[in-house]
């Protein structure tokens, strides 16, 4: 009984913070999502489900949702692949591995606002480093209007997101790789397995827990992206990079429609919860034990 009380006391600060920083704002948001509150006025009227209907039928909301999915899929596929490749290359005992690991991890510690501002400058078609470098290297045909072309802008930002977080996910994969017993590799090699066969039958199945973490984390992280897009394109050009978080921000602080923005936030919250649930259900099935 004493233990229980002690445990409860330990939990209390965390619980209080959780209620204050998540439960309370969420419930407040839910409340305002049924009103026409403009975020400033002391008064508001209840509008029932109107904000939800308006959000779901909004052209911009739908476009933002489509962009969200596109951005998320691109980041999840590219980031999982790149971080896995980096982990496989840097798990070996080479002299440079510590330096290289640190270098690849470095972008993860930078503020995403700074990353966004710097990359937006590098992507500039006239004075940016990327097009300049391509031209100098004789690859001028590859120079592009990276964040100004609506067809590729979202992928250009996705590339920055991957650059910023692949190193972080590489560490997760390295930890997973280091947990695979060496004798399994020895046995596979003695059986005459090629490198690809060893990877397919030993490494990949046993990396499933790490992959679960990487995919789940990357999915959630990319679905609720905001800082990079806000600083690099603010949703433009012509809504090409507008995602749900920037849509909610613009609705709340651009047009003072807090009720509508709250409904958008609630829909976003439900989508994110569903996505997380599906992720864990789908990936749990892949777990392998030995």
């Amino acid at each position: 009984m004493k233990n229980r009380i002690q445990l409860s006391l330990f939990l209390l600060p965390g619980l209080l913070l959780y209620v204050a920083l998540f439960v309370f704002p969420t419930l407040t948001g839910l409340f305002y999502s049924f009103t026409d509150w403009d975020g400033v006025s002391p008064s508001y009227a209840f509008v029932g489900m109107d904000n939800y209907k308006d959000s779901l039928s909004s052209i911009v909301f739908r476009k933002a949702f489509g962009n969200n999915v596109e951005f998320m899929l691109t980041v999840v596929i590219a980031q999982t692949f790149i971080s896995l490749v980096l982990a496989l290359l840097l798990v070996r005992n080479t002299k440079t591995r510590v330096v290289l690991r640190a270098l690849y991890f470095l972008p993860a510690i930078l503020s995403s606002v700074s990353v966004g501002l710097i990359w937006a400058f590098m992507y500039d078609p006239s004075i940016g480093l990327i097009n300049y470098g391509l031209n100098e290297a004789g690859m001028g045909s590859m120079a592009h209007n990276w964040i100004g072309d609506p067809k590729i802008a979202i992928y250009s930002i996705a590339a920055v997101q991957v650059w910023a977080h692949a190193g972080q996910m590489m560490i997760v994969f390295i930890a997973g790789l280091q947990g695979i017993p060496a004798e399994l590799y020895e046995a596979a090699r003695m059986d005459g397995g090629s490198k690809w066969q060893v990877f397919r039958t030993v490494t990949w199945p046993l990396l499933a827990p790490s992959a679960t973490i990487v995919v789940a984390y990357t999915t959630i992280q990319s679905f609720k992206a905001f800082d990079l897009i806000f600083t690099m394109t603010d949703g433009g050009p012509n809504y090409a990079t507008e995602i749900l978080t920037t849509y909610i921000y613009h609705t709340a602080f651009g047009s003072y429609s807090f009720g509508l923005a709250s409904a958008g936030s609630m829909i976003f919250l439900v989508l994110l919860a569903l996505l997380t649930l599906l992720q864990f259900k789908a990936l749990r099935a892949d777990r392998v034990s030995y």
Binding site: L15, V19, V40, F121, P237, S255, S257
Partner: protein
Amino acid sequence: MKKNKKLILPLVSMLVLSILLSACGGGDNASSGENGSSGSGKVTISFMHWRGEDSEALNNTIDAFEKENPNIHVEMQTLPSDQYQSTVQSKISDGSTGDVFASFPGAQFEAFTKAGLFTDLTGSSFLSAYNPKLIEAGQHDGKQYAIPYQLVYNDPIYNVKLFEKYGLTPPTDWQGFLALCQTLKDNGIIPIAFAGADIGPGQFMNTMVMNNAPSDDIFTKVEAGEAKLTDEFWVKTLTQIKELNDKGYFQQDALGTKDPAAGALFIQEKAAMLASGSYQLAQNKQQNPNLEQKLLAPITVSADQAKYEGVHTTTFMLAVNSKSKHPEEAKKFLEFLSKPDVAGEYANQTGQNVTVNDVKYDTPELQVAGEWANKKTVFQPRFTILNGDNQKAVTNSIQAVLSGTSPEEAAQQAQAIIDQHIGK
């Protein structure tokens, strides 16, 4: 019973939390009661705004004010403009901060007016210090709620020496503007540096539309459903912007260029015009002291059809918080800011023109904009669009045509978004 026990912890937590929250709330109110004054009878007023770059100049103003009014202390609080946009209402709503605060014209001013956050300044003697036409943006239903302090001309800037070199003068009609751009292009100069990725569309649309829809309330009509973006005035504006882009009068890939990069093209004299506004004159000069700059507006119609010569905006709208505990002291501060010599000091130190009459500007850049006071200008059309989402739809239609969409289709897409907002 067991179930009840399980409920104890969350219930206790909620109770503690609610006590904590109410304590926080009570603390705020309690402190705000005392906040404004100290034992010595000195009153402290808070001045909240977003112009961190003006802090030094405003600190000098505050020092001078405090010398003249030893019983009032002004505490200045600045926030970055993005943050200001999103947090100011919660900060000033209980009157504990922002006795004097700034607001943006358009959507924010409308929302604050509706919420009753402004003190009615109608009839205040210091209003006579201002050009009456230039403080209209701070009025609602005939009452003066805020005083727009800064004056900006949202007309493109041009490089006087480059114009002289090629024998060019500001054109008076659309054909003249196209010919001017072509001459510059033929001589290897970018005619217009255009920040298509951020501020460009929002700035350039103003002068482009001012004569295509020679009325100061065309976008008010659009938001009221009485006019449409698919009408001739906007399709024509988009068509002309597309024409400038297709003929290569903007720098290449203008849609990917942000404000600093477009500014750099002008400052380095690679571009002859910069589609921004007078607010950028001082900064350009600072970075290239050899620059000689003036303002011009593209005239999109024939000379005899042109009603307006340019566009002006009055912003940095100063107001007294309706919940202020010290409204008289706050008004005194506004009165001080309204003195021509004080406003002049602010203008000359910050490089921004002001709406106060009889101000003496020291620099050629401020005088350039000052010359425009006698021209026929219209209040920035973009700021007459009161809904932020509608504003975005309008400026995005410019980005759409620059990326290849036809003007008719771009106008239609933007109108569809506005129709949704009108329907709400």
